[in-house]
C-alpha cells in the first residue's frame, strides 16, 4: 500500500495537481468578519482579492482544526497504513500543531508522521510534489521522509511584495520588520529563513524585482523543480516564466496562485518564485 501524502492549502498545490499526484490538501480558513471560507475550497484567489478590495476590515486566517486532519487521517487509513503530512512552517501557522494533535488522537490505527517544512507556498508545495512522486513510485514511509528531509534545506522561496502593509497587519512580518516605513516607494523582496519571513533585498520597480528573481534562480546550477505564483496579476506570472525559461524548461515550471490565506498577508500584486535545488 502506497504512502499517502497530506499537506495544507498554503502549499498552493492546485486541485488538478493534487488529484493527479494523490495529494490530500487540508484547507486553512480565511474569514471576513463572521463569514468564513475554506481556503481554495470555498473561495478562489480571484474572489478573495475582489472581496479584499471591498472590505474595510482586515481578513483573519485560522489553522485547520485538528478535526479536519482527523477526518482526513480516518478516511485515508482505510486505504493505507502509512501517512506523511507535510505542513506550513510552524512559525507562521499552528497547522503543524493541529496535524500533530490529530495524529495523537488517531493513534495506532495508522502510522502517521508530521513534518514541519519550515516553508510556505510553493516552497512547501515543491517538497510535497517530490514526496508524492516518491510515494507513487512505491517508496516506503521512511524513504519518503528522507526524500522530504533532504529537500527542505534545498527549497528556496523568494516573494516580491508590492506592499508590506498586509504582512505587517497580519503580524507575520518576522525579521522584515525593520523594512517598514521606508521613505521611498520600495518593493521589498523577502524570503523565508528558519521558517520565518526575512528580508532578502529591495528594488524600486516590479521589472527590477523580476530581474532580481531571475538572478536568484540563476544562482543554482542544478534545479529539480521550479514554481512561479501570483496573487492578482496572471500576466506577471507569464512574464516571469518566460524570463526564467533560459534557466529551466518553461513547460516544466509549475504555475499557481498564492492561496487566499497567504494572500491575506502577501497583498495584491505579490509574486513568488520557489526553487527546489537538485541534490548531489
Amino acid at each position: 500500500m502506497a504512502v499517502k501524502i497530506v499537506t495544507d492549502s498554503t502549499s498552493d498545490i492546485t486541485s488538478d495537481l493534487a488529484q493527479k499526484l494523490g495529494i490530500t490538501v487540508v484547507p486553512l480558513t480565511v474569514s471576513f468578519g463572521h463569514e468564513s471560507f475554506l481556503d481554495r475550497v470555498d473561495i478562489t484567489t480571484d474572489e478573495f482579492y475582489r472581496r479584499l478590495a471591498k472590505e474595510s476590515a482586515f481578513p483573519t486566517t485560522t489553522q485547520p482544526a485538528p478535526g479536519a486532519f482527523i477526518e482526513v487521517y480516518d478516511r485515508l487509513a482505510k486505504e493505507t497504513d502509512e501517512i506523511l503530512t507535510i505542513v506550513i512552517s510552524s512559525k507562521l501557522s499552528g497547522t503543524y500543531q493541529s496535524a500533530t494533535n490529530a495524529k495523537n488522537i488517531v493513534g495506532n490505527k495508522c502510522h502517521i508522521e508530521v513534518i514541519d517544512s519550515a516553508k510556505v507556498a510553493m516552497g512547501l508545495g515543491l517538497i510535497v510534489i517530490a514526496a508524492a512522486e516518491a510515494a507513487q513510485s512505491g517508496a516506503s514511509l521512511d524513504e519518503v521522509m528522507a526524500a522530504v528531509n533532504t529537500r527542505i534545506p534545498r527549497s528556496h522561496l523568494v516573494i516580491y511584495f508590492e506592499t508590506l502593509q498586509y504582512l505587517a497587519k497580519g503580524g507575520r512580518i518576522g525579521k522584515a520588520k525593520g523594512l517598514l516605513g521606508a521613505m521611498l516607494s520600495i518593493k521589498q523582496i523577502l524570503t523565508l529563513k528558519d521558517g520565518e519571513i526575512a528580508p532578502l533585498t529591495q528594488r524600486r520597480s516590479k521589472p527590477a524585482g523580476m530581474e532580481y528573481m531571475h538572478s536568484f534562480v540563476a544562482r543554482f546550477p542544478k534545479i529539480e523543480k521550479l514554481a512561479v505564483e501570483y496573487c492578482t496579476t496572471p500576466e506577471d506570472v507569464d512574464k516571469l516564466a518566460e524570463l526564467l525559461s533560459p534557466l529551466f524548461p518553461k513547460e516544466q515550471i509549475y504555475q499557481s496562485t498564492v492561496s487566499p490565506v497567504l494572500g491575506a498577508y502577501a497583498g495584491p500584486g505579490a509574486l513568488a518564485v520557489s526553487v527546489l535545488e537538485a541534490g548531489e
Binding site: G178, M183, L200, T201, Q202, K206, A208
Partner: protein, 547 residues
C-alpha cells in the same frame, strides 16, 4: 626668528603652525578657485581642516626630534584628511615623514630628499594622477629643492626659497596643463593651497611671523589670461562630535519671566539651548554637563514643572545598542555619507547602520568616517561616500582600523540609494560589495544647482544665478528656469528606457515646483513611475534618480 641652520621638530611644527594660519587667511579665495575635480568650492576649507588635524597631532608630542614630529604630523593629516585635496596633502605629509625618518633635525639636502619622497607618495596615492593639480606643484617644488640643495646642501632657507618660487610658477602654469582650469579661467585650487602653505613656512623662516599677522597671502594669477569663477559659496557644516552630558528639559512658571534674558543667561551653561514662552510660562531645553547649575539658577524665578534630566551618554549607549539590534543578520554594517536630515532619514529608512553628515561642499574627514565604522556593531563595514570627493577619504578608513572596511564608490545620492537597495541579506560581505558596486551603474543621476558667477564650462556659457544641470557629474545644461534645465538633462538620460524616476527636492526648492515637474515628466513619459521626495538637501535644488 631667522633660521639659517638645521631645523628640528619644534621649529618645524612652529613653521607649519604659522603656515596653517597663513593658509586660513586665504581659505575663501582658494575655495572660490575650485573647479577640479568638481566645482564645489571647498578645497581651501578641506586643506585647512586637514592642516588643523596635522598640527594638533604635532602639538601632542613633547619630543623635539624632526622624525617624531613629522611622524605625528603625518598621522594627524591621515586621520583628519578631508576631500581630495586633503587626502593628497596627507600623502605629502606621509612622504615628508618617511624622508625625515631617523633624524633629529634636517638641512637643505634632507629637506629636498623629503620633498622628493612626498612627491612620490602623492602620486602613489592616486589611481589616476592628473597633471595641472597639487601633484604637479609638489613635483616641481621637489625638483627645484633638489637643484638648489645640490648647490648648497646646508642652507635650508635657500632651498625653501627655491621651493616657493618653483611652486609659484607651477601653480601659474596649471591652466596650461588642465583644460578645465583654462576654460574656467582659474589656477588649480589645491596647488594654490599648497603654495600658500609653503610660502607661509618660508615667511616664518625669514622671521616674518609678526608681519604675517597683518598681511594676506598672495593669490597666484594664471600665466594665461583668466577670468575668475565660482559656483557656490561653500557652506560650512561642522561635523563635530556631539558633546554628551545631560539633556535637561523643564517648564518654568512664574510672573514677569523674560525668555530673552533667560536665553542669554543659559547660553553659557550648555548646548542646543531652546527657550520659548512668555511672561508666565517658559519652556527650556538644554544639553549641559551640569544640570544642577541650570536648575539652581532658574528656581529663584518661579516654579519648575515636568523636569526631565536624561543622561545622554546612556542615550548614546542605547543608540549604539539599537544600532546593534538593527545590524542585519549577515553582520555587515553600512555607513553612508548623506547631506541634510531629510535625506539622512531616507537612508536610515532603507537600512543604513550609520549616517555621517556630509556631501558637496562639506566633506567629512577620514576621522568622521573612521568613527562611524568603529562605532558600528559589525566587524564588516561598507561605506557609501555618495560624493565623488569623499570616495578617496573613505578609502583611507581601512588603513586605520582592524575592522574589514570596503568602499562602494557611490558618487551621487541616487547611486547610494541604488547600492543600498541592492544589498542582499543572504549574500556574504565580499559578494555584497560587488553586488552593490554593480548596482551603481543601474541608475543615472541628475543634479541641478545654480551658478553664483558667470563663466564658461564644458562649452556652455553660464551666467550668474542661472540653473545648471549635471548628468552623472557632467555639466550638460544651463538655463534661467530650473524646471527647463531639469527637463533638458532628463531628456539626455534615456528616460524611455527607465522604470522609476525619483525627484529629491532640496531646501532651496519649492514643493509646488517639484510637483509641477513631476506632472510634466509623467505626462511626457507615461510609462515612468515618478516619485517626489522632500530631500531637504543643501546645495542641490534637485537630485533626480533615473533607474
Amino acid at each position: 626668528m631667522k633660521q639659517g641652520n638645521n631645523i628640528n621638530g619644534r621649529d618645524f611644527r612652529e613653521m607649519f603652525t604659522a603656515a596653517t594660519n597663513w593658509l586660513e587667511k586665504s581659505v575663501s579665495d582658494i575655495d572660490a578657485l575650485n573647479v577640479f575635480p568638481v566645482p564645489d568650492g571647498d578645497t581651501g576649507t578641506n586643506m585647512l581642516l586637514t592642516m588643523h588635524s596635522t598640527i594638533e597631532e604635532a602639538d601632542r608630542t613633547p619630543n623635539g626630534k624632526i622624525s617624531v614630529v613629522s611622524q605625528a604630523m603625518a598621522k594627524g593629516a591621515l586621520i583628519g584628511a578631508r576631500g581630495n585635496s586633503g587626502v593628497i596633502l596627507s600623502q605629502i605629509w606621509c612622504g615628508l615623514a618617511q624622508g625625515l625618518a631617523g633624524k633629529d633635525d634636517f638641512n637643505g639636502c634632507d629637506l629636498a630628499n623629503a620633498l622628493s619622497q612626498a612627491s612620490v607618495m602623492a602620486y602613489k596615492g592616486l589611481s589616476n594622477p592628473v597633471e595641472g593639480t597639487i601633484l604637479t606643484v609638489i613635483k616641481d617644488a621637489a625638483a627645484a629643492a633638489q637643484e638648489q640643495a645640490a648647490k648648497d646642501k646646508n642652507d635650508v632657507i635657500s632651498v625653501m626659497e627655491a621651493v616657493v618660487n618653483a611652486a609659484n610658477e607651477s601653480v601659474a602654469n596649471t591652466p596650461r596643463l588642465l583644460p578645465v582650469l583654462k576654460e574656467a579661467g582659474v589656477v588649480d585650487a589645491g596647488g594654490q593651497g599648497l603654495y600658500t602653505l609653503l610660502e607661509g613656512a618660508l615667511r616664518y623662516l625669514n622671521g616674518e611671523a609678526e608681519l604675517m599677522q597683518f598681511r594676506k597671502p598672495q593669490m597666484i594669477a594664471s600665466n594665461i589670461p583668466l577670468t575668475p569663477l565660482v559656483f557656490m559659496a561653500p557652506e560650512r557644516v561642522a561635523v563635530e562630535e556631539i558633546p554628551f552630558g545631560y539633556c535637561t528639559e523643564f517648564m518654568l512658571k512664574g510672573q514677569e519671566l523674560n525668555p530673552d534674558k533667560l536665553r542669554k543667561r543659559l547660553k553659557k551653561k550648555g548646548e542646543s539651548l531652546i527657550v520659548v514662552g512668555d511672561e508666565s510660562t517658559v519652556r527650556v531645553h538644554i544639553h549641559t554637563l551640569d544640570p544642577g547649575n541650570v536648575i539652581r539658577y532658574v528656581t529663584s524665578m518661579g516654579t519648575m514643572h515636568g523636569v526631565s534630566i536624561r543622561n545622554m551618554d546612556e542615550q548614546h549607549q542605547d543608540f549604539l545598542e539599537m544600532q546593534k539590534q538593527r545590524a542585519p543578520a549577515t553582520g555587515v554594517a553600512i555607513v553612508a555619507v548623506v547631506p541634510g536630515e531629510r535625506l539622512s532619514e531616507v537612508f536610515s529608512s532603507l537600512g543604513v547602520t550609520a549616517v555621517v553628515p556630509g556631501g558637496q561642499t562639506m566633506n567629512p574627514s577620514t576621522k568622521d568616517l573612521l568613527q562611524a565604522a568603529e562605532q558600528s556593531a559589525s566587524d564588516k563595514v561598507i561605506i557609501l561616500p555618495n560624493n565623488k570627493n569623499i570616495v578617496l577619504t573613505a578609502g583611507q578608513v581601512q588603513s586605520l582600523t582592524t575592522k574589514q572596511v570596503k568602499v562602494v564608490p557611490s558618487k551621487t545620492i541616487p547611486q547610494g540609494v541604488a547600492a543600498l537597495l541592492a544589498f542582499d541579506y543572504e549574500a556574504d560581505f565580499e559578494t555584497n560589495v560587488s553586488i552593490m558596486t554593480e548596482a551603481l551603474s543601474t541608475v543615472k543621476s541628475i543634479e541641478v544647482t545654480h551658478a553664483i558667477r558667470s563663466t564658461r564650462l564644458n562649452g556652455l556659457s553660464i551666467k550668474k544665478k542661472q540653473a545648471i544641470g549635471f548628468l552623472d557629474g557632467a555639466l550638460i545644461a544651463v538655463g534661467d528656469k530650473t524646471a527647463e534645465v531639469v527637463y533638458e538633462v532628463l531628456a539626455k538620460a534615456e528616460p524611455d528606457k527607465a522604470d522609476v524616476v525619483t525627484i529629491y527636492y532640496g531646501d532651496e526648492a519649492k514643493e509646488a515646483e517639484a510637483n509641477a515637474i513631476n506632472e510634466t515628466i509623467s505626462t511626457q513619459y507615461p510609462n515612468l513611475q515618478v516619485e517626489v521626495v522632500n530631500g531637504g538637501q543643501p546645495h542641490y535644488k534637485y537630485i533626480i534618480s533615473i533607474e
